[in-house]
């Protein structure tokens, strides 16, 4: 089973409200990633977990939080959603050292902030 599952698939949120997106994988991958994808823009890496170590990109450091309670699950948390957070959020996973470099993506969570 090489699937990555994301929930919810669609999320409608009000400005200023929190948003929590969930991702799971059963491939025992040690690295899990969150990307933000807006129309006509490249998928933007927000953060990733290598095992229990969280790495956040410098320009999104304070905007997104994440947790990884176990190897299979990873969440993306927005404390106070703004209009600019409307996007598709893609979760992906891969094996770490010695990997083939292949990312396995989920189907995405589409967030609309009103």
């Amino acid at each position: 089973d090489t699937t990555v599952k994301q929930n919810p698939r669609y999320k409608l949120a009000r400005v200023g409200k929190p948003v929590n997106l969930i991702c799971s994988q059963t491939m025992n991958h040690d690295t899990m990633y969150w990307y933000q994808k807006k129309p006509n823009q490249a998928p933007k890496l927000l953060l990733f977990y290598y095992d229990k170590i969280l790495n956040r990109e410098a320009d999104t450091f304070e905007k997104f939080q994440s947790s990884r309670p176990n190897n299979s699950f990873c969440s993306l948390y927005i404390g106070s959603a703004g209009l600019e957070y409307s996007a598709m959020y893609l979760c992906a996973s891969s094996r770490g050292q010695g990997n083939t470099g292949q990312l396995y993506f989920g189907e995405g969570s589409k967030l609309t902030v009103l």
Binding site: A42, S94, G101, Q102, L103, F105, E107, G108
Partner: protein
Amino acid sequence: QQQVRQSPQSLTVWEGETAILNCSYEDSTFDYFPWYHQFPGESPALLIAIRPVSNKKEDGRFTIFFNKREKKFSLHIADSQPGDSATYFCAASYNTGYQNFYFGKGTSLTVIP
């Protein structure tokens, strides 16, 4: 700063033609260059990838050409089929034990029968 640049944004070819998608990158320490494709309603999936030790990688009708000196790489899709219609993303990453992937904006390919 955009690490990976991709062109064209959209491309239309006739069935049987060769589609050429282009990418360039900034950081010469990138050492892994995959192409992902995404069909409507589906998640991106790995298509083909190359490492800088090679300047060409083939997989059936799909070929990556890599130019390390110019920091460019391209995807050639020979004998394009309508089923190849999708969005294609190039990417680059460092091999640091875990991999940060930086993507291009994507090329929307349409193959007309």
